[in-house]
């Protein structure tokens, strides 16, 4: 892996791409710590520690994760990449529902271009919405759960200032979107993924510092080792695949019979990726939302019930629900993205088969069987990884800031692996002679 990077930096073309990517990521980080006009950031930083102590795992942490911790700072890039992701998900789902989008999607480049355009507009709309709600919350002090008085960090609360903040944040999102595309276009890797990656790892140094200050040396070392083991484990699981050999029994090649070795369906143990975790987190955000709507009136039995089991995040019922939701979504997601019958039908149509298995239905059944057997451990793994920070919170007594949260590690490893693979591929395509001679 390291070798790949060294070689990459020796290739002028690729070096420029890498440097460009790093450059954009740096600007992105810079923008995430520059406060929006009218915000007194020093006041926020002063009181940050108190807030963090009260911070709980769950959706708030998730939002925070995706926006790289900047949300709390009312920065220019405070909204981060989240609006774009939400917009993409919404548009993707709408594509299934709205025929017009579906037809556009099929028209290839031009149609896709239009869909992308819609996604951008929606992103901006969402950004305005989110920025407004953040500013509103900031004004009433809700943003920091009332722990910091709004006057300290928003000295001037005139409409003009507030609108300016909303405007700046929305523009920030637009710029981030552009950054992402710039990276994909001129740099390496998928821009959006890399931006999330940056947001995720941006909180690492501070949380590790926090740990170092609060925990004793042995526990700190233990947590670090545990983190490394965890990352290794996730890398291992993310790479794990079952290769189902496929043969195309149509051609007969001269003397050598090729095939078998290079043609296969790689089925991943974690075929669903990180999506089930995101779905489950979003779903578990609903109870909190309900409480917000019903008011925090503890006499209401529904509210009491929800508050006891579904807020907090460390309650066994919450954890169990989270876990089972993830497992369920993993199966659901694999089912909608991988249709064994369709794959089998396509293979049959073009003369492909799995050695030892008849084409058509037997092949579909076989694929289904293998997929189910893979997804079972895969989904359990996903659930466990996602639960880890909560378990750590509950047991190890690590009061806060366990840096190796499940979701962050999944994102980190996923994006990291993808990007390294892409660099490798670039290398192989470009610097060909360098390898051979």
């Amino acid at each position: 892996m390291l070798g790949a990077f060294v070689r990459a930096f020796r290739t002028p073309d690729l070096r420029n791409k890498l440097l460009f990517t790093l450059f954009i990521l740096t600007i992105f980080r810079l923008g995430s710590v520059i406060p929006a006009p009218g915000v007194n950031s020093a006041a926020i930083r002063d009181q940050m520690e108190q807030v963090q102590a009260a911070d709980d795992a769950g959706i708030y942490a998730l939002v925070n994760l995706f926006s790289g911790g900047a949300l709390l700072q009312l920065a220019v890039f405070a909204l981060g990449i989240m609006p774009y992701i939400t917009a993409s998900i919404i548009i993707n789902l709408l594509t299934v529902v709205i025929p017009r989008l579906e037809t556009l999607k099929k028209e290839g480049q031009a149609g896709q271009g239009k869909i992308t355009q819609y996604t951008r507009y929606l992103t901006l709309a969402l950004a305005v919405l989110q920025a407004t709600s953040i500013v509103a919350m900031a004004r009433t002090g809700q943003l920091f759960q009332g722990q910091i008085r709004p006057e300290t960090y928003l000295p001037d609360q005139s409409i003009l200032t507030l609108v300016t903040i909303v405007f700046v944040m929305t523009a920030g999102t637009g710029i981030i979107m552009w950054f992402g595309e710039l990276i994909t276009e001129r740099g390496v890797g998928n821009g959006m993924s890399l931006l999330i990656f940056t947001q995720v790892i941006a909180v690492f140094p501070s949380s590790i510092m926090g740990l170092w200050e609060e925990q004793d040396t042995w526990l700190f070392a233990l947590i670090c080792v545990a983190g490394l083991v965890l990352i290794t484990g996730v890398v291992f699981m993310e790479q794990a695949q079952r290769r189902i050999p496929v043969q195309y029994a149509k051609r007969m090649v001269g003397r050598r019979m090729y095939g078998g070795s290079s043609t296969y369906i790689p089925l991943k143990v974690n075929q669903a990726g990180i999506i089930p975790v995101i779905f489950a987190s979003s779903l578990l955000y609903l109870p909190q939302l309900a409480i917000g709507l019903l008011g925090e009136d503890s006499s209401n039995p529904v509210v009491r019930f929800l508050q006891e089991y579904f807020v907090g995040g460390t309650h066994p019922v919450y954890m169990a629900t989270f876990f089972f939701l993830i497992v369920g979504f993993a199966f659901f997601y694999v089912a909608i993205t991988f249709n064994p019958a369709e794959v089998a039908e396509n293979m049959k149509k073009y003369g492909g088969f799995i050695p030892g298995i008849r084409p058509g239905r037997p092949t579909a059944e076989y694929l289904d069987f293998v997929l189910t057997r893979l997804t079972t451990p895969g989904s359990l793994y996903l659930g466990l990884i996602a639960l880890l920070p909560m378990i750590a919170l509950g047991t190890a007594g690590a009061q806060q800031g366990f840096p190796f949260g499940g979701t962050s590690i999944l994102i980190m490893v996923g994006v990291g692996l993808d990007t390294v693979k892409q660099i490798e591929s670039h290398l192989q395509q470009r610097n060909y002679e360098g390898f051979l001679r």
Binding site: Q112, T184, S262, G351, R358, P359, K421, S425, Q428
Partner: protein
């Protein structure tokens, strides 16, 4: 992450094309973007050229006074400088060329034709409507390049046009003091060599491609016919660069012969369609049903076709089945003198130098119970894209380029110059007529033909393919409407026929490619009763179904309204048409008029949508071919570079002198250094080529199944590169080791020369060629990739 990756990717891809194409000079870039903002997107600014027209015109009186010899002298004088042309020289070139064309051909080029010449000389694609005189523009530009010492290859779509244009323009070239020649299918190696060496050579794209491929197999420097590429001028540029670009030209050589698989041929003969096997809608693939598998297994004596340990039977079954079901005698091939001969489907005539690949030929021969000939093996292939990109300077002309301007820029770095017509186009393009079923469409078209024919107005009907054109002609004949059918079976005859399509009362049915490059003049080629035809309304072009791209539609339309002639065009479409049925989301629930016509605009929009879907699929295939070929091209160039060293600098001899020092020294003593060098060259080249052929087969195999990786969320292209690179590692070393092994066993034959065949070194006894159009196995595969991708994106 996959959920949003799709959306993001496409957003960016759409932009990438834009950013690279300007020079980095900021100022020029700004001016450029402003111009682009105002003008047609992607078009070249014609103003610098139009400015010169006046000066060109002004030179005319003086040039008219010159004698022929003096005029030639003027032209040759232009060769005293280097490319590119300064504007004064450009004026001189155009003026001299115009006068030369007037004297040599009796045609004085219009201003717009000269604009085309200037655009071509700047390396652009000149978009000139049908009948505007592209050939002459091309010829003047070619002469311009040739005068300045560059060799020009003019690429045509077929042999007929290559020959016709070369002969037609020859007087002009001679006048301007440059040599011209052409290459056809029947040209011998010597003829080709001389022809390519001329200052201007006309050749069809496929002839050139196959010559390049054959040159790559040469064992001696002198065997090669195609010189270093300098300038390519491409006629019908969109068709060559876009439509044909995804089609690799393949050179195959005879490998050893296989046994006739008569047993399997017999078995598949007993199978029943429907029950035992089924054919897909496109008639491209055939599969056994479960009952069919049972039947075959039983007849073979209880073998398991899908046995893990022995997968050798299934390919035999598939080949026999393919030969039996999908290839029909007298449609796809004929049997003559006990030999199976292919019929080129798109041209409808026997293709001597074509065979089916990968054992299919033998399967057909077994089916027909004739002797099995040698089986072929792919030696190498080249895409039209790689072929054209070899030329440092490229330009071309066509009637329809703007629609593919993006692709021309993305893949070839070419810009389009839109040349206005000499006289404004007054053709009337009527709205499509949409019908529910094919029968209703045909009825309506026939009725329309009958009523228009009464007025004596000439009619040209464009069909999708050969069989459709024949069916339609039969139907018209039944209705008492006599018509001529053109289906690109014989380019020369058909050119003569289509030239008469504008005759009073003529009805011509044609396929897309038929008669390309030949003008339809109103009133026939001699324009005898032109006035009568003009009065009737000029040529009436009818499309029997829309083509897979709007560009092809426009080409058909462009047949009418030539040079300001009157004319009109109309398309008859039905929901049954392949284009609509395969690409539209929904083809039911319409409301039709009594005669079956559908007037609802939403449904008309559906046809346009279907066409856009088809266009984007074709583009995807093109882009895919391009991407996958990049790495292959790099690997190939490594092999070719090595080959070049062996050919020119006796690298093989030097290597073998080290690797097999003993044998080498011994042989030198016996037969002399020169003969040993020859043998060393042959042996080394053989193993280089052998290795490349094997590697090629591996890559083809890898490519075929690589789309499956997408199911594991891997990018198939990355995966392809990842697997192809290690497979090529050590390629040159391995070839060297194999050559050394063979060399150490060499012996001197009876004639006193080294006998290389004794160690298995032999060239393919014959080679033949095919375009992957005709390659029955890979056709629809690309589609599947698209489908899988589409699905995975929809879900994730």
């Amino acid at each position: 992450m996959g959920l949003w990756a799709g959306a993001i990717e496409t957003g960016v891809r759409e932009r990438t094309g834009v950013s690279r194409r300007y020079p980095c000079v900021v100022f020029g870039r700004m001016a450029e973007s402003v111009r682009r903002l105002l003008g047609k997107p992607g078009a070249v600014d014609l103003r610098p050229y139009t400015k010169l027209l006046e000066s060109i015109e002004a030179r005319e009186p003086e040039l008219r006074e010159l004698t022929d010899a003096e005029l030639s002298e003027k032209a040759i004088e232009l060769g005293n400088a280097e490319l590119p042309y300064e504007s004064t020289d450009l004026v001189e070139l155009c003026a001299t060329g115009r006068e030369a064309a007037r004297r040599a051909l009796g045609e004085r080029p219009f201003d717009v034709q000269l604009l085309g010449v200037m655009a071509l000389l700047d390396g652009h694609i000149a978009e000139m409507a049908t009948g505007e005189g592209k050939t002459l523009s091309g010829a003047l530009a070619a002469a311009g390049f040739a005068l300045r010492g560059k060799r020009v290859h003019i690429l045509s779509v077929n042999d007929y046009l290559a020959r016709r244009d070369a002969e037609w323009m020859r007087p002009l070239y001679e006048f301007m003091g440059v040599t011209v020649s052409w290459i056809g299918e029947e040209s011998t190696r010597e003829e080709r060599k001389t022809a390519y060496g001329a200052e201007i050579a006309y050749a069809s794209v496929s002839e050139l491609g196959f010559d390049v491929l054959r040159d790559r197999m040469a064992t001696h420097e002198d065997e090669r016919v195609v010189p270093e590429p300098e300038i390519a001028l491409i006629d019908e540029a969109d068709s060559v660069l876009v439509d044909e670009a995804r089609v690799p030209l393949v050179l195959a050589g005879a490998a050893e012969s296989t046994e006739a698989d008569l047993e399997m041929a017999e078995i598949v003969r007993t199978l029943k369609p429907g029950a035992h096997y089924e054919v897909d809608e496109e008639g491209r693939n055939v599969q056994l049903t479960d009952a069919g598998i049972d039947a075959v297994e039983e007849k073979l004596g209880d073998v398991d076709l899908y046995d893990e340990n022995d997968t050798s039977v299934l390919p035999r079954v598939n080949l026999a089945l393919h030969a039996h079901v999908l290839l029909q005698r007298d449609v796809h091939y004929v049997v003559r003198d006990g030999v199976v001969r292919l019929i080129n489907e798109s041209r409808g005539r026997i293709a001597l130098l074509q065979r089916w690949p990968d054992g299919l030929q033998a399967a057909v021969e077994a089916k027909e119970r004739v002797d099995v000939s040698e089986t072929g093996e792919v030696l190498d292939s080249i895409t039209v894209q790689s072929l054209v990109v070899r030329y440092p300077t490229r330009c071309g002309m066509t009637g329809t380029a703007m629609a593919v301007a993006d692709q021309l820029r993305e893949f070839y770095e070419l810009e389009v110059a839109v040349i206005p017509p000499n006289k404004p186009n007054i053709r009337v393009d009527e709205k499509n007529r949409l019908y529910a079923t094919r029968e209703e469409k045909e009825d309506a078209l026939v009725a329309e033909v009958a009523s228009v024919h009464e007025s004596g107005r000439p009619i040209l009907i464009g069909t999708q393919d050969v069989s459709e054109s024949e069916l339609l002609a039969k139907r018209l004949a039944e209705e008492g409407l006599e018509c001529v059918v053109l289906n690109a079976k014989n380019d020369a005859d058909e050119a003569a026929i289509i030239a008469e399509a504008g005759t009073y009362g003529a009805i011509t049915v044609s396929t897309q490619m038929a008669g390309r490059g030949t003008d339809i003049r109103l009133g026939g080629s001699e324009m005898g009763d032109r006035d009568r035809v003009v009065e009737a309304g000029g040529l009436y072009v009818m499309g029997f179904g829309r083509y897979p791209s709007s560009r092809l539609d426009d080409q058909l339309r462009g047949r009418a309204g030539r040079q300001g002639d009157p004319g009109s065009s109309i398309f008859f479409v039905s929901l049954d048409d392949d284009l609509v049925a395969n690409h539209a989301p929904e083809t039911r629930g319409y409301t039709a008029e009594a005669d079956g016509e559908i007037t609802d605009p939403a449904w008309r929009g559906m046809v346009d949508h279907a066409q856009r879907v088809a266009e984007s699929q074709i583009l995807d295939i093109h882009r895919n071919t391009w991407r996958y070929n990049q790495l292959i091209d790099v690997q190939r160039s490594v092999v070719l570079e090595q080959r070049e060293e062996v050919l020119r600098n006796e690298l093989g001899d030097r290597q073998l002198a080290v690797d097999c020092a003993a044998t080498h020294a011994e042989l030198v003593e016996e037969v002399g250094a020169e003969e040993v060098a020859r043998a060393a060259r042959l042996v080394t080249l053989y193993y280089l080529d052998r290795g490349w052929t094997e590697h090629n087969a591996f890559l083809a195999e890898l490519r075929e199944g690589i789309h499956l990786r997408f199911l594991g969320r891997r990018d198939p292209l990355d995966e392809f590169n990842r697997d192809a690179v290690p497979a090529f590692k050590g390629f040159l070393d391995e070839a060297r080791v194999r050559a050394a092994e063979a060399f150490s066993e060499l012996e001197v034959g009876e004639d006193g020369n080294i006998d290389v065949t004794s160690v298995g070194v032999k060239r393919p006894s014959m080679t033949w060629t095919y375009m992957v159009h005709d390659h029955p196995f890979s056709s629809a595969l690309e589609n599947m990739v698209g489908k899988l991708k589409g699905r995975a994106r929809a879900g994730g």
